[in-house]
Amino acid sequence: MAIALVLALVVIGSVLFHFLSPWWWTPIASNWAYIDHTIEITFWITGVVFTAVLLFMAYCVYRFRHREGVRAAYQPESKRLEWWLAVVTGVGVAAMLAPGLVVWHQFVTVPAEASEIEVVGQQWQWSFRLPGKDGRLGRADVAHIGSDNPLGLDPDDPNGRDDVVIEADDLHLPVGRPVKVLLRAIDVLHDFYVPQFRAKMDMVPGAVTYFWLTPTRTGTFEVLCAEYCGLEHPHMRGRVVVEEAADYQAWLEKQRTFAQLSGPGRASGRAETRLGQGEKS
């Protein structure tokens, strides 16, 4: 009866592995603990089903193994049993789906007080943009991209003049304040992925995507790209520094705005072609 024993050991081993192995998610640093809770609910429900179903199968293999002179039972179906099992399964599914949809509703509902920041992905680096004193990000379009305008800000949009542009350096965020992260890519798909934040979203050229979060603890976190973007995909790294509001302000003071970067002439970016009008900003 090796097979029945091995089947049971596979099940028990899997459960033990789950509880004893050192590999678990990294401690969270955002408000999305709800997501972790939903995963935990899912682990419990699926774990119970996994264990029960497969141990029962192992038992059947043991109990009903071939023996001389014993025939199988002839019973084509049992509507009652099948419907009963279907209903129980439905309840289990609903118990996972319902909290999942509730949390998803939070995920797609950006709080009104969230401040906007922008992350721009390109092969293979991260850039960031923060609104200036006016609190608004200016329009941007790949048509404006040039050597002194790497993110393609529209030089004619006054809202963009005071935008803080951070190229190939760390992003800083104040702790405890909700942010709506606007995502843009200028070449291929990327995905702004900070494992401690749990939330992530693809960045799609030609569109602006977003998600929101509230950082809940200070620290420095790695940014990885989670959507395959070509050869150097694994090396597309960046850092997010979450810090207290005062430290954040001090850092922000030292950053340069778009106007400072592009100089008084502000125009070399405009020498580029304007082919792609009509793209979303």
Partner: protein
């Protein structure tokens, strides 16, 4: 309870159309090469699929070596790594699993199981194989062109797939897309055949509700494939236009590597919708034949009727239908309209219900059975373990918000390998051990078979079960090296080494299987017509292997469903589908 089995027994309509004489081959070439016999075509499909599948297996060794020992093996460059994962994925999903289940098992089993002499359009059936072979050759040719095969990932997402930051941008992507187009053309010819044969070619008395579940699984998958592949077809044509003609179906305005490209106005997300409108049904195109086949393996080797046959049929049909409205669960973090998440999470989790019913009914078939632990039965049991595991992790990824942290991590890789890699492949092996005696007239060696099962099953589980936990840690997929990261502990690296060693062992065990296939062809124990004492029609042919035309002079007449095992009062523990009720009464 007995109305599907007993009440319907003996109801056979009169013959309406006459038996039509087949075209018979006149030479060796028309008999074995350009053959119109579905059985020969099935073997051609299977051998071709297994051959290209072995290429994919070797590619998986290379990528696992790179992941466990990054930078150690000079034969794997970063370019190479991405080319290998891309080719591995596409070969396994399309050119091995789809082709083997539908072209291989479908061609062999459909005419025999429904009691037909052949497919209804034998010539088109032959063309289907040759176009498939051409598709495989075009795909394989990309290993030998400048720049090598495409490294765009098997999902081929634009813009990256056709831009210079991705390996194989010159020729590889063009050959990949051309090969897919050819594959779909070839499949369509075969697929129409399978559908018409099941609908029109059944023997007298073979009602739809008497069909073995193998046929139900294959035919539902075929209908799905006929509806889903066109989406991939147009996506491939449009992407090819973007690459070759400079159109902008999927390409917005782009500045790549500092250079402004001429594209404008296209939508990368449109490609993803088209791809997954094909891609999700594709999962079930692979899974449903496996569901059907494993049902028949379990019933036959547990000597017990499949439990809840009608529910099993409806579950197959329901899964097939539902799978067309769940595709965007592959796109929860793609940046699509976020409110889609509510709809697609709900539909996705609803699929769990008919799927769970199938699992329950397999196990309830074992319950109170007379379980013979043959090699096919072992593989069927292994399948249930892998499928339950992979199906349950699907409930994580299908539940939109749970998917957010897990998507694009190794959790996804582990999940889909368990559920649509390991699970269906275990069924393929079980199916080959089961039907090889009918195809060749000889049994596969049982000792080698058991060795093959144990190493493959335990090894594959050891590869993919722990891999989920790499994903939970946050390790992203499609990284040829993880490099230094603070959130991944060094112990995860030893896990990667362990997985690679397991993968190499499992890979080499497949050589034992290959050896068994060849050795048994000449030295295997003669099988006789019905070594498993099975009920379905393919085991009742007058000759083994069945001759061209399958049935000799008289087509079989079907009097009962496919699962009359251990019927009380019957002398034997099985009653073939073509055994009249009178014979049973007389046997008493």
């Amino acid at each position: 309870m007995g109305d599907i089995a007993l009440g319907a027994a003996g109801a056979v309509p009169p013959a309406e159309v006459e038996d039509v004489e087949l075209y018979h081959p006149k030479s060796w070439v028309t008999k074995y090469v350009f053959s119109q016999d579905a059985k020969v075509i099935a073997v051609q499909y299977s051998v071709t699929a297994l051959a290209i599948g072995f290429v994919a297996l070797v590619l998986s060794w290379l990528m696992r070596l790179q992941l466990a020992f990054p930078g150690t093996f000079s034969l794997v460059s970063p370019d190479g790594y991405y080319q290998y994962i891309t080719m591995h994925g596409m070969i396994m999903v399309v050119y091995l699993l789809t082709a083997l289940f539908l072209g291989g098992f479908g061609n062999y089993l459909i005419p025999l199981m429904v009691g037909a002499r052949d497919m209804v359009f034998p010539y088109v059936n032959m063309l289907s194989y040759w176009v498939y072979l051409l598709a495989v050759l075009v795909l394989a040719a990309s290993f030998f062109v400048p720049g090598g095969p495409t490294g765009a990932g098997w999902t081929l997402y634009p813009p990256q797939a056709i831009l210079s930051g991705t390996p194989g941008q010159d020729w590889g992507i063009i050959l990949m897309l051309s090969s897919l187009i050819l594959f779909i053309i070839g499949f369509t010819m075969g697929g129409l055949n399978y559908v018409v044969t099941v609908l029109q070619g059944r023997a007298r008395g073979m009602t739809l509700m008497r069909l073995p579940l193998t046929v139900w699984g294959i035919i539902t998958a075929t209908v799905m494939a006929l509806l889903a592949f066109p989406a991939l077809f147009v996506a491939a044509v449009m992407l090819l236009c973007d690459r070759l003609l400079g159109t902008s179906f999927f390409m917005p305005s782009i500045v790549a590597m500092g250079e402004r490209l001429a594209y404008t106005g296209g939508s990368p997300l449109l490609f993803q919708h088209l791809f997954w409108f094909f891609g999700h049904p594709e999962v079930y195109i692979v899974a449903l034949p496996a569901f059907g086949i494993v049902s028949d393996l379990i019933a036959t080797h547990a000597r017990r009727n499949i439990f809840g046959y009608r529910m099993m049929v409806w579950a197959i049909v329901a899964i097939g239908a539902l799978s067309f409205i769940v595709w965007a669960h592959h796109m929860y973090v793609s940046g699509m309209y976020p409110y889609f998440g509510f709809f697609f999470a709900t539909t996705t989790l609803i699929i769990a219900i008919p799927t769970a019913i199938k699992v329950y009914n397999w196990i309830l078939t074992l319950w109170r059975g007379d379980i013979h632990l043959t090699v096919p039965m072992l593989f069927a049991l292994g399948f249930i373990v892998a499928f339950v595991n992979g199906g349950l992790t699907g409930l994580f990824l299908g539940n939109v918000v749970v998917d957010v942290p897990l998507s694009d991590t190794m959790f996804v890789v582990a999940h889909f390998h368990m559920v649509m890699g390991i699970a269906p492949i275990l069924v393929i092996f079980g199916g080959i051990y089961h039907w090889y005696p009918k195809v060749t007239g000889r049994m596969l060696d049982e000792t080698l078979g058991k060795f093959h099962f144990w190493v493959t099953f335990l090894g594959a589980y050891a590869i993919f079960f722990p891999m989920h936990y790499l994903g939970l840690l946050g390790v992203p997929r499609r990284y040829y090296e993880l490099g230094e990261t603070a959130f991944v502990p060094p112990s995860a690296h030893s896990l990667n080494v362990f997985i690679t060693i397991a993968a190499l062992i499992v890979g080499f065990a497949q050589l034992v299987f290959l050896f068994n296939l060849v050795w048994s062809l000449f030295k295997g124990r003669p099988a006789g017509p019905n070594p498993w004492r099975a009920t379905t029609l393919e085991w009742q042919t007058p000759e083994t292997p069945p001759a061209h035309g399958n049935w000799g002079k008289e087509l079989p007449v079907v009097y009962r469903w496919a699962y009359d095992y251990s019927v009380p009062g019957a002398e034997q523990d099985f009653l073939p589908q073509n055994q009249p009720p009178l014979a049973r009464a007389a046997a008493r």
